[in-house]
Symmetry: C2
């Protein structure tokens, strides 16, 4: 069976809602933050640690798993769940974002470098600079690992995702920069719609019975394009929808609201790549059900921890003699067992456990922020919850 | 109270034995492998993972903790147990080995470099090359972190160890190379004996009630020196003994046997820095009760896993498609939840969880090898156990 989505309660703005996504591998109570496990591992954590901090589902990356270890290994292993020892629901993105961004970054020498393997200078998303070559049929790109040439089409992306074996897959899309010209946004959006149709058709013919597919809406920061994309993708027979993250941060909640109003109400909506605390709250308010973002674990590996409505960096000198937890009152494993002084020591000493503990804290913080938003919706006090966060 | 040691059963060779070391923070059933947590963390593992794999006690490093985070932080934190969230028995070594080896290595430019922060080219242990300067009172050495100059004396080493707060401490000693001339071995040994007396006196006046002290016997690979050192240190009022690891591998069990025969039977004996499977079995047979070694976690971080009586390296190409556990039949968390293919993928993808999983397997392997030796002693079939291992 594909997923089943139920809305339990709605906000008075008629956008935000609390609900449940049921998959073969378990239920996701929404709104929910989906933890990122790019390469079939949530960086520096065991699946038990991920479950213990309250995560309900994991999102892995098609591009990365296609290159390493390869879809054949994933298939022979019995699929993503079994391979990585995660028995809850799983998502895979389509690989489109990475094929464009990392492919383009590979040997792009002048001022357009990737900031890291997953962190991209978005100026590379332009019709002119792309080392990843787009045509009507798909995209040809270079491997971030060895520079070898590869090709994704909507059908290939779905085939790879079928082999990886997650519960919820995404249609193959072209992700543009919010700063690309309107004409290119439109062109890429129209192509994404044609690719969505091909992704859906391939998926319906070839999927395993437990697999669902989300269509991705694009349209950059333009209200007309965002609405048009949501209308067109929303009319297709997808099990849910992804909202492509191509907008400036300040436009985000507007764009999300435009899209939410156009999408069919009864299907779940995933806001791709968004994970900062305030963005999550605004996304939830504007009708998003699930989210994913690498930020909580990435900033953790750099020594940063979410505290209150901001961040601290544990490497700051003052924390070396601070025997309080990362965040007073936090119920996560890191905060209930260790001090800032200890974690600060671990980072100074370049000990791996430091990254593990801050990753646990940051994911707990984000996962539980979204859970508290859910409870606030169910209990009818979302506005109070939001104001409480803003006044921190 | 200091520790209490009880012998439960002895081997017919009158050397090897099974027993119990009782400390304020728990019991160590011996023989036992003590897991190394150099900088107040067992590398890449949580204390819960360390406990789950069967470890009974952790050994931290005085030199490293003195430099970072410093003894004052350790003391303010409430000591090692509380700082690192380990509620079982703990050891600290004296820092002597590192002061000599890492201090000497610091700016030793010609052919005498340290192989790594903990892995030392032992040719630096010579009276001529030492950048660490030994005098009768103590040793002046350079910090591995910033090259700053520091000084350990027997009294300072004990004071630092008291501040760190472990259950079992070691007297300050001079560790020589097994290849140093006989005359220097003798000179260093005699100095170690004088330092042992000073360490013991300082300890007895200043210790916390739960802290015990082990004296360290030296003597290189010379039977007369080994026996003399064991006799002299053995006659002092220590709670147990450390056997300094300055011998060639092939001499090890001989040297250990000489020492064991001279030491008082009723006190525990710790063989410092020894941890290869066969060495452990020979050490146990020759009267050693506890052991420590960084090898299980260090080789894990390089992709190596103990299997049978040897090792495999998970990065070998064949393991990329091998869906069996690291070691068939192994009951550790890594082997019961993951395949060689998955762990191989984690290492290729440079994912931290790979080091965590192999560290769990290797420590489980070593800790349980020693536990099986204990059971074999108690059940009277140690020789069979040993032959079984040799025939693997």
């Amino acid at each position: 069976m594909s997923l089943k989505f139920t809305i339990e309660k709605k906000l008075s703005n008629n956008r935000g809602r609390a609900g449940r996504i049921e998959t073969k591998n378990g239920v996701i109570e929404t709104p929910a933050f989906i933890v990122v496990g790019t390469k079939a591992t949530v960086k520096s954590l065991t699946p038990e640690q991920v479950k213990d901090l309250g995560a309900q589902a994991v999102l892995a990356n098609t591009y990365h798993l296609y290159l390493q270890p390869g879809e054949e290994v994933m298939k022979k292993a019995g699929g993503l769940h079994k391979f990585m020892n995660w028995d809850g629901p799983t998502f895979t993105d389509s690989g489109g974002f990475q094929a464009f961004s990392l492919g383009a970054a590979f040997d792009n020498k002048v001022g357009k470098v990737a900031k890291g393997k997953d962190e991209i200078d978005e100026s590379i998303f332009s019709p002119h600079s792309a080392m990843a070559k787009v045509d009507e049929d798909g995209v040809t790109f270079k491997s971030i690992i060895d520079g070898s040439s590869h090709r994704f089409t909507p059908e290939r992306s779905m085939e790879i995702q079928h082999n990886i074996g997650a519960d919820i897959l995404f249609a193959f899309d072209e992700c543009t920069s919010p700063h690309a010209p309107y004409e290119y946004q439109k062109e890429a959006m129209d192509r994404t719609h044609r690719w969505a149709k091909r992704s859906l058709e391939y998926h319906q013919k070839n999927r395993s019975s437990h697999q669902s597919i989300f269509g991705i809406t694009q349209g950059g920061r333009h209200e007309d394009l965002r609405k048009e994309s949501a209308k067109i993708i929303g009319a297709m027979d997808f099990d849910g929808f992804g909202i492509g993250g191509s907008f400036d941060k300040e436009d985000m909640h507007n764009a999300v609201g435009w899209v939410a109003d156009e999408l069919p109400e009864g299907k779940p909506r995933h806001l791709l790549g968004i994970g900062e605390p305030l963005d999550l709250i605004l996304g939830i308010e504007n009708g998003m059900d699930t989210f994913d973002c690498v930020a909580p674990t990435r900033i953790a590996r750099n020594g940063a921890a979410y505290v209150g409505s901001g961040r601290i960096n544990i490497l700051n000198e003052q924390f070396g003699q601070d025997f309080s937890p990362i965040e007073t009152g936090c119920a996560c494993y890191a905060c209930t067992h260790y001090t800032r002084a200890y974690i600060s020591h671990l980072f100074r000493a370049k000990e791996i456990l430091g990254a593990t503990l801050l990753s646990i804290h940051n994911l707990y913080y984000i996962v539980n922020l979204v859970k508290r938003a859910r409870v606030a919706i169910l209990e009818g006090n979302f506005e109070k919850f939001k104001q409480g966060f803003l006044s921190l």
